[in-house]
Amino acid sequence: MRELRSIGKSAWRKDGIAKVTGAEQYASDVLLPRMWHARVVHSPYAHARIISIDTTAAEAMGAVCLTYDDVPKVRYNERIVSTPPHLYRDRQVLADKARHVGEAVAAVAAPTERAAELAARAIEIEYEVLETIVDPEAAMRPDAEPIHSSVLLGGTELPIDNNVAVNRTIEVGDIESGFARADHIFEREFHTSRIYHAQMETKSVVCRPEADGGITVWPTTQSIHNVRQLLGEIFSIPLHKVNVKRVAIGGTFGSSIQMNSVIPICTALALKARRPVRLVSTREEDIYDHTRYETRIRLKLGVTDDGKLVAGQMEALADIGAHNIQAFALLSVLAGWWVSLYELPAMRFHGTAVYTNKAPSCAMQGFGNPQATFATETLMDEIAEKLELDAIEFKLENYVGLGGTFWGQGPSVQSIVQSDGVPELLRVGSDKIGWQNRPDPGSQTGRYRRGIGMARGFHTSGAGAPKPGEVIDYSGALVKINEDGTVDVVHAMMDHGGGTLDAIAKIVAEELGVPVNCVGISPADTLTTVYDVVTHATRGVYAGGGAALKAARKAKAILLDYAARVLGIEVDALVIEPDEDLCQGVIHCPSVPERSITVGALAKLCQTNSWGSIAAVESLRQVNAPPAYVSYFIEVSVDTETGHIETRRVVVGADCGTVVNPAMAVGQLEGGLSKGTGYALVEDAQWDPETGQLASRGYWVDAKIPSISESPRLENIETYFADTYEPTGPYGAKGVGEAATNPCAAAYANALHNALGIRFRQLPITPELVLAKLRAQAGETLLGGQTAGPASAGSRGT
């Protein structure tokens, strides 16, 4: 293979200067003539019927008001990429019944944000408050108040019983005889928490009604095309009149994987007000908009004396909150991630997704994978300990690797693993951390106790498969060569900040043989791009980049045809190589050095001769979804007096195939560590069982995520990449983003076990939990546990 010129080298981000200078345009920066501002009225109750809404006072203030009566009576699901048999629709633009605190029940638009706020406060709403259901087990009791009586599945009405949104059972092999072959059976229960995405940008949108009855929309989103299609459907506007523009997104972690609920509200207001309207969520509103799926997982694994897994069973209860966004898919992936971690000759999965009166759950970095991996990797560590096997050997013996079947995205999304860096990741990682020298679990007695833990995992690269699955997956791109030899890539994909579009530029540059500086990423909107499903499932480079590569190949073929004509050399003898000094690709034939032409000169010639544009548009469905493997080795130190956990060293390795942009890939690993640390140790979203309010009431002050101080020093974070090549990926690349966080929490739990001899099966692992478990281990209770005096008003700060 020829030497790579762009891929594999760290490069500056194309949007870097705009971002650091503040010139970048996000949805909330879009300011239009005649534009008004919107505010939304949210339900203060977790579960309440709306009896009446009086907008008289607000209208008297000059505001345009929107209630349930004004919005199209269309039930929708904000995430439309599930195939129709699995598309559950249970919400409308504004609710007729509040199902969680913060649910949008009315909205206003006014000339200024302040006028809008005052008008919103002037709206009077009468509620009939219903029983609040916060606990998913309680939600399933026969006498529990129904949160939805029925929903639409595809096009048909589906009654909802016991607040169960969906059940799913998946079985492979004979589970009974599987467990019968086991010499040891381990069964444990895990609980993962319901954390907030905490993306930097709050969900925002600007909508402008057009004179022809169409609309132009600038939203916070991960998919402009899905927003377009859903707005077209809700508002009955033909798609050629719905233009959704790509603006930069200020991080997302999955929070805008669907069409955010503010988007149709703003659209309805703009249509009613007949002018552009801007709607920007406050942080407190945003916190009540979406969360990660909270799960309770009962995991059972059967293993033989010599450390071979023979059977597994997982029962999962997922608390989906007030709306079903992708509960069916969540159950599929919980099963899929789990069985793709380790070979299980016989397996059974049963999952139940339950409605509660909490903010709806949606995908968040790893979509079910952090949950499944936390349970599996913690239990695998325990099994290795109990059977006196080395955890690394035990995992290598059982993991799904080269030639194995990977079906992370669920049973219908299966493909064969063709690149596998797991042995290298584990070997290198264990050397770097000093795995062989870690202490014996629970052997230490001093105030500070040190431990090393390890967990591995992966994420899928996209949701492609040989046959259509339960999720739609394909991308498209237009590559055109400009008359000076530069290149425009027109691609609908979003870049969440991880550098996806930069990677796409590199792939195109590499294929065309031009310097990466010559490749520009065009602004994108839905009128001028072909469909891209959404930036999710760690598919940006693998699937989005794959589509760009396909289009670049075709454009290159056209280019070389013309070059052959001009140079008088056979097409197959020509190559294009970047000349950084000229800032051009140069087309030549190595054996005929005197004949060459720059891409720019050739493109100009095509124009002056009126031969036509050199451009190609292509669509690509990847027929594989290769796993991007990641391993974590974490060293912690625990202060046994306070329960505080210090992360001393982290060694994180990734197998993402060819590393397209090393600096950005390292950034993904460090970011994955930070988010994973938050999930494992810090972030703790408690919901008041009576009011259905967040204990933090939506304020950052008590919704803490890790800050830089919680991170180990940079010199104590070591990252590395396995040397692999994915044959189905663009230039051998797979994904990395979500993989980077998935095993993190389990690695912490295993490190804590190593330090303290205590297993943690519940997240987050707070100092308080550590202390309580330490005391239980020592057979004591915490000081004051018995003597706690009468609670008095007290330490609520601020």
Partner: protein, 288 residues
Amino acid sequence: MLSGFELDLPDTLVGVLDLIADGRGTPAVPLAGGTSLIVDMRARRTMPNAVVWLGKIPELRGIQVTQDHVRLGPCTTVSDILNSDELAGSGVSLVRAAEAFGGQMVRNAATVAGNIACNSPASDLVPPLMALDAEVILESRSGSRTVALDRYFTGYKEDVRRTDELITGISWKRQEESSVDLFHKLARRKGDAITVVGVAVNMAVSDGTCMRARIALGAVAPTVLRAKRAESMLEGETLTPGLIEAAARQATEEASPIDDVRASATYRRHGIQVLTARLLTQAWGRLT
């Protein structure tokens, strides 16, 4: 989102005192760094009609160290405290509290008077000041008075300050050579997090005897408070590990923590015990 309010920016102390007395018909509320007041207004916990900003009066800000006293102007910011060389020698526990306080932006704006006057049991500057026996100077149009910080708070979000009074200074006696003052805070993360337990200790030792012991506790009762019975167990004594443990345990009895989103009462009690014993041990170790 903020509602509307009137904002005055007087450039004299008298101007402020006039406005908070009755102003333009409604008494105005003092605004210093705004890191507490604006947050409360935005959350609609308080909705004053009129607000008066203290930031136009330079004399209200600064650290004065004389022969025997240290005096902080009310508008001295947490960053001022953190960057002060003088305090490093006469109130280092306050510098420790400033280090553990908020994030850089908040430290640049937040003031010491605001930290006291917002009346939060979790105010971080208060335990060290209380352990230093600091006094609060209150001024109004009708005169001025001095109140020991220890007597300033009367209950949860309640204090002795009348609404027409402004805090115009905080002062304490400079510490003798043979004394040590310490502060430590536990929170859900290292920076920019509300205190779960804060403990300040101030100790003077002479000839192997503890002459003065101050233990102030934050975030474990309706107000910051001193563990006076624990203190009196130590004064006049030669400290031993057993006595320190007992005093720390006594301190937990004097607190009345609650369960909240940040920690349980049980954890807080445990935190008082651990931090108090640790700081007393350190102080005693340094002085003997």
